[in-house]
């Protein structure tokens, strides 16, 4: 007929907005990995002996491991000897003391991303520890945090200035033997963020790090460690964008969270790495290990993530609920478009008594994308009275996308309660037509439907980040009453 049928596919074909490379000279180690490269990295960073030993142990263990292939993703073999394991902006000796000293091109990059560092930091009251490639180049609001006794700094700085904390906590949640990528990360990680909250301290601001992957053929091996001592409270935000690139880039980060008794850690991620072009070429491979342990009674760890990027995502932010009455939460929106593949989910390990966990996963698949939810709820015999609630919803856009759900349950305590709900729906030509018939444009209609679908997760994001998430999904929640 004469009227234009509205194609969902057209709407989801929008090009990645942040495709550009910042031209900054880098000090890059030649590709390849052996013990000498690890020694070089450790020496360049001036690390203490225990850390070098730890790296080498991880490397030797990694050599005995095989790349895992159980995830519902497909990609060509990765040549680990073809990756350069270290890259830092040059002239680190005279690193910038303030934003004024930062390479203007770098700041311009943030501007293009809509993340003007200084503006954002000041206006939003967010301290930004900007990780540019592998070395942090700007840290703000340090003094205000220092007043409160909060340590928020690049990981390498923490290694130099707080080696005792590093030695005590590093690898205690994600051991170097944990999995293939975690082992690799442990061997070669270059930098990342470190946070420590002393007893009873409520962090005076949201802590935020923007990651960027910028150097060709540079694997990114970030290491983040957050320790919340007894009764403390912190909200940490991680956001990522990356420039357009023709080669696949490996990213294998490790994030470890430790919440001691009565402490709360809220970790939010908005991830917008380059997903590859319409044909699935050139995107980021994101194999990340994120895990938190509620090590004391009444501790709480909450993961909230909005994933829109990466060619391949392999990611399971997890909670180990060791302390009695501790709480683990996982709220996730994963969007996969074109030929993106996402295999993501969570693990909730109930060890302490009366531990509780909540999982809300929203998967959106469009184009030829495959989106899988993989979740494990494990209740150990010690976890009397444990409770879990899982809700897992999938939204399909167009005829060629796929959604898969792999829930695993292991309950070894009869007093535990485990609930699982799952739905799969199609964004339907029906829903879309309904909105069009009420006069909405197709773009507004899709945004509205998607944002409605994601609502329960967006509610969990800190305000500033919710805005970011909305932009990323091109979703407008504005004007929603009630």
């Amino acid at each position: 007929m004469a009227s234009t049928p509205t194609s969902l596919d057209d709407l989801v074909q929008q090009k990645y907005q942040h495709g550009f490379v910042t031209d900054i000279e880098s000090d890059t180690v030649p590709p390849g990995l052996d013990e000498d490269v690890i020694r070089l990295i450790s020496r360049k960073k001036g690390e203490p002996g225990f850390l070098l030993e730890w790296r080498l142990r991880a490397y030797r263990h990694w050599l005995t491991m095989r790349e895992p292939h159980w995830a519902h993703v497909k990609y060509p073999a990765i040549d680990y000897q073809g990756i350069s394991y270290f890259s830092a902006p040059k002239a680190r000796a005279d690193a910038p003391k303030s934003l004024a000293d930062v390479d203007p091109k770098l700041l311009a990059t943030y501007d293009k991303l809509g993340v003007p560092l200084h503006e954002r930091a000041r206006l939003a009251g967010v301290a930004v520890d900007a990780v540019f490639d592998s070395v942090s180049v700007a840290t703000t609001f340090k003094s205000r945090l220092a007043e409160a006794g909060v340590i928020f700094c690049p990981f390498s700085e923490a290694v130099r200035e707080h080696p005792a904390l590093i030695e005590r906590y590093l690898g205690t949640v994600v051991p170097h033997t944990d999995n293939f990528y975690a082992a690799l990360n442990s061997a070669v990680f270059t930098d990342g963020s470190f946070v420590y909250l002393p007893k009873g301290v409520r962090c005076p601001m949201e802590l935020s790090t923007y990651f960027r992957i910028n150097e060709a053929k540079t694997g990114q091996f970030e290491r983040t460690l957050i320790i919340a001592d007894e009764g403390s409270h912190v909200s940490y935000l991680e956001g990522c964008t990356a420039p357009m690139r023709d080669e696949n880039q490996l990213h294998a980060a490790v994030v470890e969270l430790v919440a001691l008794a009565d402490a709360t850690i809220k970790y939010s991620t908005v991830q917008n790495w380059y997903p590859g072009d319409e044909n699935g070429l050139g995107g980021i491979y994101n194999f990340v290990t994120k895990r938190g342990e509620c090590r004391g009674a009444n501790a709480r760890i909450s993961w909230t993530q909005v994933e829109t990027g990466s060619a391949i995502t392999w990611k399971y932010p997890s909670c180990v609920l060791t302390g009695d009455n501790s709480v683990g939460e996982f709220y996730s929106v994963a969007v996969a478009n074109h030929y993106q593949q996402a295999d993501t989910g969570t693990k909730m390990i109930h060890i302490g008594r009366n531990t509780r966990s909540t999982i809300v996963s929203k998967g959106i698949s469009a184009g030829h994308a495959q989106n899988s939810y993989r979740g494990l709820v494990k209740v150990l015999p010690s976890a009397a009275g444990a409770r879990n609630y899982t809700q897992c919803d999938s939204l399909l856009m167009g005829a060629n996308s796929g959604a898969h759900t792999f829930p695993y349950l292991e309950v070894r305590n009869p007093s535990a309660t485990v609930e699982h709900e799952a739905t799969t729906s199609k964004i339907g030509e029906d829903q879309l037509f309904y909105c069009l018939q009420r006069g909405l444009s197709s773009e507004d209609a899709v945004n509205m439907i998607v944002s409605g679908f994601c609502k329960t997760v967006f509610k969990e994001l800190p305000m500033e980040f919710a805005v970011e998430a909305q932009n990323l999904l091109a979703v407008s929640l504005e004007g929603a009453v009630g």
Binding site: S3, T6, L436, G439, S441, I449, G452, C454, V481
Partner: protein, 260 residues
Amino acid sequence: MNSIQPGDVILEVRDLAADVQGKHILDGLDLTVRAGEVHAIMGPNGAGKSTLSQLLAGRPGYTVVRGSVRYLGEDLLALPPEERARRGLFLGFQYPVEIPGVNNVYLLKAALNARRRQLGLPEVDAFEFLTLVRERMKLMQMDEAFLSRGVNEGFSGGEKKRNEILQMTVLEPTLAILDETDSGLDIDALKVVAAGVNSLRRPDRAVVLVTHYQRLLDYIIPDQVHVLVGGRILKSGDRSLALELEKRGYDWVRSEASAA
């Protein structure tokens, strides 16, 4: 938009033939709807009633083989569905969809503003909007809690139909096409829905009721009744035709038409 006078032609369907997935559903349908009128289209299952409603609203998937449709003087078939809606063509859905997480009030406001933009009016003021919606909800005997619920989310069949009519009374369309809005309603709900439709009746608007049953027409008195069989309108008449159909079914219309 020029003001519409009573008796002006709002919708003019001429010799419309349309296929769905290669099947002929409409086959030479004629229909003229003028301002101020209420038309009822009745017919057996599979006669093409819903196809006609959906096609007029612009749902993708229908192929127009021949004929024309003019709406307020424009070529309706050349307009995308959202443009038809903004020009005041409203479809009350037979099966309204659920849109989880999207507030009813949000959709309603977006819809009203889309219409207002078309009319060259500013976005509706929040207070004015709520006053309007509350008043219409009273008419539809709906609870206010409904506003913050997801669009049709977990609604009963009757609630969904009420919601359609509520939207209609807020949007005040020039032409409302109600596709089996009465199906699945108990008698009380039917009366409420009828009250909503009757409140919309004005000399510059028109309503097309697509229905199986005569009983709706006890509460909404139509000016014309059409019998749609085999993709075309075989017979038209006044309200008494509906009563006759209820008594005698549709076969006599078929044989009468083939004899003619």
